[in-house]
Symmetry: C2
């Protein structure tokens, strides 16, 4: 491996001079600077970032931890985060917890031993508290993404889950639906709690009763699980519309409905949170509360970088990004029997 000493020797200077050339620090005569640069190129020298990290106590690596790499919402976040990190010259250590607490723990250990400069952290749920506290204990700056964790004070970037849910359900109510099912994520996750609240609020505001037997909690990644839908369809007084708490669940629902020969929206309406590119090719073209996923990632990363680079500890910031109700073909006015 080529080191600054190899360069120094060949250029007839000291290693320190080479270091100065690399980092553009100190005063170096133009002549030596050129000579050193030339040798560096000849020898294909690449600085060793590990050695540099060790002495600088900065890795220039940020970590992004998401909960589901197969979900377009999160991959779009990843794209935003990656672009932002790259713009500021940070490398990205990537992690996918698969909504799994144990995997999340492994990643936190990795993050800790890697001494990353900061973490953009989408928690699997409230129990992620422990992991976040671990980061705090080791003074690793982080920004919480997408889901709030009670007990943690930190920068956070969120969607407006309650509002979005309310808008979706009010849309359904507005077009005549009265029996609306909710297929939701685990109540251990803040977004699921808030979407549930929004769902209830929409009912209450419109003077409608809430039938708890129409509310089902699964895991955000359990989109293959048909038992939830099955239960709803077997219901003595089945729903005329389904609100799936995220896009993956919605796709699962539509698939299952199709397998049972049920048409959306003719037989039943379906709406969900989170848009995705392929939604536009899906039939029925889904009605969604679209969240600005890319911004989740890029703004989150920006907050993180600012926090790292701003010396005097800033106050915590909370960004709530609005969702947009996109009414499309999967929800249809209820034809009264």
């Amino acid at each position: 491996m080529i080191t600054i000493y190899d360069i120094a020797e060949k250029a007839g200077v000291s290693a320190m001079t080479v270091s100065r050339v690399i980092n553009n620090t100190g005063r170096i005569s133009e002549a030596t600077r050129k000579r050193v640069r030339k040798v560096m190129e000849e020898l294909h020298y690449i600085p060793n970032s590990m050695a540099r990290s060790l002495v600088l106590q900065k890795t220039h690596i940020l970590s992004l931890l998401i909960t589901d790499i197969t979900n377009p919402f999160y991959t779009t976040i990843a794209r935003g985060a990656e672009d932002a990190a790259k713009r500021s010259g940070f490398r990205l250590l990537f992690g996918n917890s698969d909504e799994d607490y144990a995997k999340e723990k492994d990643y936190v250990d990795m993050i800790l031993s890697t001494r990353v400069d900061g973490v953009l952290f989408a928690p699997t749920g409230d129990h992620s508290l422990e992991h976040l506290q671990q980061l705090q204990k080791h003074n690793i700056p982080f920004v919480v993404l997408d889901r709030e964790v009670p007990g943690i004070e930190a920068d956070v970037v969120l969607g407006d889950s309650k509002e979005g849910a309310r808008k979706l359900v009010e849309h359904l109510i507005g077009i005549g639906h009265r029996r609306i099912a909710l297929i939701n994520g685990s109540q251990d996750v803040s977004t699921a709690r808030l979407r549930h609240l929004g769902y209830r609020e929409a009912h209450t505001l419109n003077g409608l009763p809430i039938d708890d037997s129409l509310i089902i909690h699964v895991n955000y990644r359990d989109f293959h699980d048909e038992s939830a839908l099955e239960a709803l369809l077997q219901h003595p007084s089945p729903p005329t519309a389904i609100f799936a708490a995220n896009n993956m669940l919605a796709v699962g629902v539509i698939k299952s409905l199709r397998q049972r020969g049920l048409q959306v929206p003719q037989d039943i309406s379906v709406v969900c949170f989170d848009d995705f590119v392929h939604a536009e090719a899906i039939n029925p073209f889904l009605t969604v509360a679209a969240q600005p996923a890319y911004q989740f990632g890029s703004l989150g990363m920006q907050l993180l970088i600012e926090r790292i680079e701003s010396e005097p500890a800033r106050e915590n910031r909370k960004l709530i990004l609005p969702s947009e109700l996109l009414i499309r073909a999967s929800s249809q006015a209820l034809v009264r029997a």
Copy 2:
């Protein structure tokens, strides 16, 4: 920051002993081992992997470079790669080149300075040769993924682009189509060249003429570009079926067709490479040549890890993973006019 010296002092041993406890090397009495471990826990000690990397000349970091993080094919690869890396205790430095040569170059520089132990590399195209050669020059092991690069000898994991394309087109021919368009990626990319070849082969084998005006080259990520489709629809003798070279292009095609009021498959059939979860919810349920994306990632990562860990340089290996023709609703027998 807590170091082994802090541990050593508090436990009344030397730093070396602590190091031995951490790494389970050498002979340590059970008593001291326990004492050391206890102190480590008390002080919440986490080994500094940078320092370790520096002395061991191994980072235990692998890099995965993909070309499109918004494409489910690649995110599924990422998932497979990540799982495999994790199983072997490697960290994953993640990169997304966006099918962009310049971004790819940036990532190669990052990879080089990070001194990763190896790279799983999905090249943007033939011109990636330069980047791969750079890795070779610096003795960084890599496995080429998804796309072959002429001039590079290395382990490689590929799909059977030609075969898959041939099967798709023969399926279309088999149900009566004679004018089949190809919306393909750039000819600078091996998969696009092979899919083109498969397309031609299917025609030749079936004694059909090839109309080059039905073959259009775009970029795999240009799924928003409607000009290709526009040209095909304006054709004096328009196609009755479209073979989109990947899933993203297919989704773009279906969207555009819908906007023009054309029905798939009634008005025109569409088939493509690469399946994706959401395909099953799409209407029309796409006919695809499904590739085992997860295996691309996990097998690729396995090859990489084996190459890193096997001392005597093994021969290069070439894995070709078959695709599966899934005939679904988007392709329909041609009704002769």
